[in-house]
């Protein structure tokens, strides 16, 4: 049946796409509009309803090929969104945690047990990781815009996903390192303040959420042929 040709095509296309629901919906709405417009144009040229719809779908292109091009754009859009989150959330999260620590716990040096110098190095490295990861995400966003037309979309999508994974990985590693170092120096410090324990828990929830975003970003980029 003629009507089903467009429905089937749009459904088939949608089933092959992965990305932000809004972006997928927008692309599919635009696809359906285009197919309906093409059908109307063919009807005006004297084709029957069924012929017009079939011709519109044929002209749109093989679903596998079109899905591949759409997916590359969806993957880049998802990568961009993830990098924006990383660029904004990581420094905010770190500043909030540090401000809370200074307010509720005070400087590391003022704690009961002596703080070895290597611990301060680990703490400093952890501080820098969030800033560096955020900075890398920001640079990637700017470069992505400049290089949007110069490089293959599929390559840009994979690069964005890789940067997101590495940035979240570095932040994760920094947080694991500071927790392990704190436990090694004085395990009581980990439980010294209930509000700080809650703040740490929130930090971990945010990192895990960013990690899931980065993983989905990679999944969107790697299903592109």
């Amino acid at each position: 049946m003629g009507t089903d040709v467009i429905d089937r095509y749009v459904t088939d296309l949608g089933s092959r796409l992965q990305g932000s629901k809004k972006h997928v919906r927008d692309l599919l709405t635009e696809t359906r509009d285009s197919l309906e417009d093409a059908t109307e144009a063919h009807l005006d040229r004297g084709l029957s309803e069924d012929e017009a719809r079939t011709r519109a779908v044929e002209e749109f292109g093989p679903v596998k090929e079109i899905a591949n091009e759409y997916q590359a754009e969806l993957a880049v859009a998802y990568g961009t969104r993830t990098l924006v989150w990383l660029a904004i959330v990581l420094p905010l999260m770190h500043m909030a945690w540090e401000y809370g620590r200074m307010l509720l716990v005070g400087p590391w040096q003022d704690l009961g047990t002596p703080t070895p110098s290597w611990y301060l190095v680990v703490a400093k490295a952890n501080d820098m990781t969030s800033g560096a990861a955020s900075g890398v995400a920001l640079v990637a966003l700017v470069l992505g815009r400049i290089l949007a037309r110069k490089y293959d979309t599929k390559l840009l999508a994979k690069l964005a996903a890789s940067i997101a994974i590495l940035a979240v990985g570095a932040v994760l590693l920094g947080n694991v390192a500071i927790i392990a170092a704190t436990a090694h120096v004085d395990v009581a410090r980990l439980m010294q303040s209930l509000p700080m324990s809650i703040a740490s828990l929130i930090t971990w929830i945010v990192i895990i959420r960013l990690g899931l975003l980065a993983r989905r970003c990679l999944s969107c980029a790697t299903i592109v042929a």
Binding site: T29, D33, D37, F60, G61, I66, E73, A148
Partner: protein, 112 residues
């Protein structure tokens, strides 16, 4: 014209089609076919990812609006898009001048 030959020029063709006007996807496709007398024969589905790529580069912006009872995404050039189009036109003129100098020679080497 073969789709593969067109693909490399698709961005420039889309920028030129949107020069001084705001169009939705299918109107862009129709305009391209009209101007080329039907010679530009790309799968129409490839135009939409290309428009998104131009949007990502900041060369076009899009808005959703309801036209004739149907939601349509319409595109227009930005200032950066105008500049990019200008650069594409200059590069194309330079390219065709050089290639024409070689191919349009009428086989003068064969005659000498």
């Amino acid at each position: 014209m073969k789709p593969d030959a067109l693909r490399g020029h698709l961005d420039a063709l889309l920028l030129a089609t949107l020069d001084g006007r705001q169009l939705h996807g299918y109107a862009i496709i129709e305009a391209l076919q009209q101007v080329s007398g039907g010679a530009l024969d790309l799968p129409t589905g490839t135009v939409y990812p290309a428009l998104r790529r131009l949007e990502r580069a900041g060369h076009v912006v899009s808005d959703w609006s309801t036209v004739g009872g149907r939601k349509r995404r319409t595109y227009r050039l930005t200032q950066a898009g105008q500049k990019a189009l200008h650069a594409e036109r200059s590069a194309w003129r330079e390219f065709t001048t050089v290639i024409d100098g070689v191919l349009g020679g009428g086989g003068k080497w064969a005659q000498t």
